[in-house]
């Protein structure tokens, strides 16, 4: 076994506890539905000295303090990009909290929180989004259609300038990967313009095992 193989996942007690706290802070989602796996108290950590190129999928929450280039698919779990984390990847998860840097699209089934220390470039999609002051964000936010309290009617102007409705209430197809398929990573799809609502059921095909594909290296 090479050194690279042995350090794909680094867990130590301290960082795991810290990650657990962070995940709880970000309201780790309750798991429900048939596709939900057994509850997991565990949080995996990609430490600050770890660099992963490829796809990351799994069945537990994840704290990233290192660097990930590729894609992250933890559709049933919480992903936290810590203050030292730098992700150049698309992220699919249930709850995503960013304290560090993300270059890529983020798709969360429940919630995305961009903390004040975060720096994000990419499109984010979630029913609930929190953008804290100080967060540096460039991209689109798509909160879907749910809970908006209205159908696609026209918004009229009091000054007589009727504001038209856009025609696009239909959900755009998701470009993000789901499940735990491995292969070549495609990186982020930033700026691709697809930021529509996504079929959450497709993201329920959760990965069932913690795994990474591709190359991991320590720096």
């Amino acid at each position: 076994m090479t050194r690279e193989d042995t350090i794909m996942w680094k867990k130590d007690e301290d960082t795991t506890q810290q990650a657990g706290r962070t995940a709880r802070d970000s309201e780790t989602p309750a798991r429900s539905g048939a596709a939900a796996s057994a509850p997991s108290d565990r949080t995996a950590t990609i430490g600050s000295a770890i660099k992963i190129k490829g796809e990351v999928s799994g069945d537990e929450d994840l704290l990233i303090q290192g660097r990930v280039d590729g894609s992250i698919d933890l559709a049933e779990h919480a992903v936290t990009v810590g203050t030292q984390g730098h992700v150049t990847a698309s992220i699919v998860a249930s709850v995503v909290t960013v304290e560090g840097r993300v270059d890529g699209d983020i798709d969360a089934r429940e919630r995305i929180v961009l903390r004040s220390s975060s720096q994000v470039e990419g499109d984010i999609t979630a029913p609930r989004v929190v953008l804290e002051d100080g967060a540096r964000f460039r991209g689109g936010v798509d909160m879907g259609d749910a809970g908006s309290g209205g159908s696609s009617g026209s918004a009229s102007s009091g000054s007589g300038n009727a504001k038209s409705t856009s025609s696009g209430t239909s959900a755009a197809s998701s470009s993000s990967s789901s499940g735990s398929s491995k292969g070549s990573s495609s990186g982020s799809s930033r700026g691709g313009g697809s930021n529509g609502s996504k079929d959450s059921s497709s993201k329920r095909e959760a990965a069932t095992s913690a795994s990474t594909a591709g190359k991991a290296s320590a720096s």
């Binding site: 989004v129 964000f137 936010v141 879907g144 159908s151 000054s159 313009g193």
Partner: protein, 206 residues
């Protein structure tokens, strides 16, 4: 001659002491232009807001009252790049199925090179929904230097002006008729002059 004073032990004359540059403070101001932008707009999940400025918690929360799709292009940062058109293409992707209904340009017209103004508006018009509304701020004073800002929407009728770097020489002042021509195919529906010396325009795509 501060070094000589230090060597000779003499205190420099008070007049030679340069005061510490003070950071200009952010100012919260009422904004009739932003109020006009949101006037009568009802919340609708199909609405889409485009802010060419910097993202902020407050702006986001205000926009989220009206729309579920919000884009922050942060072109005020990107305008330092030579190729604004490319930056616009990257930051404001065309969304034919989800065009923008409310567009906040802020003071970008004053910041970009004169030859970039019309193409900028044309690009925005391509990405705008029919009857979309657009808000711009233009320096209206005769000052030779202007303070660039970044802007935060505090409420539908209030905006925070936060200084964004040092003052810079003013480009040629844009007169109202010139702005109206530049904004085509957006037709200016409302215009206001604020106490800050800036003029706000709200245009509607024809």
């Amino acid at each position: 001659m501060g070094w000589l004073d230090r060597i000779t032990g003499e205190d420099p004359p008070v007049a030679e002491q340069t005061p510490e540059p003070t950071e200009p403070e952010a100012l919260d101001r009422p904004s009739l232009g932003v109020k006009a932008l949101f006037d009568g707009v009802t919340p609708d999940s199909a609405h889409s807001v485009l802010d060419l400025g910097r993202a902020s918690e407050s702006s986001f929360n205000v926009y989220a009252r009206f729309a579920r799709r919000i884009r922050f292009a942060d072109l005020l940062r990107a305008e330092r790049r030579a190729d604004l058109d490319r930056a616009l293409g990257e930051s404001v992707p065309a969304q034919p199925d989800r065009p923008y209904d409310l567009i906040l340009v802020w003071d970008l017209l004053d910041r970009v090179a004169p030859e970039s103004r019309a193409p900028l508006i044309a690009r925005l018009a391509e990405r705008a929904a029919p009857r979309a509304r657009l808000h711009v701020l233009v320096e209206a004073s005769d000052r030779s230097a202007v303070q660039p800002f970044h802007f935060t929407v505090l409420d539908v009728d209030r905006v925070r002006y936060t200084p964004d770097g040092p003052e810079r020489p003013a480009r040629g002042r844009l007169l109202p008729a010139e702005v109206e021509r530049l904004l085509q195919p957006f037709e200016v529906a409302r215009a206001f002059t604020s106490r800050s010396g800036m003029r706000e325009y709200m245009g509607i795509l024809q």
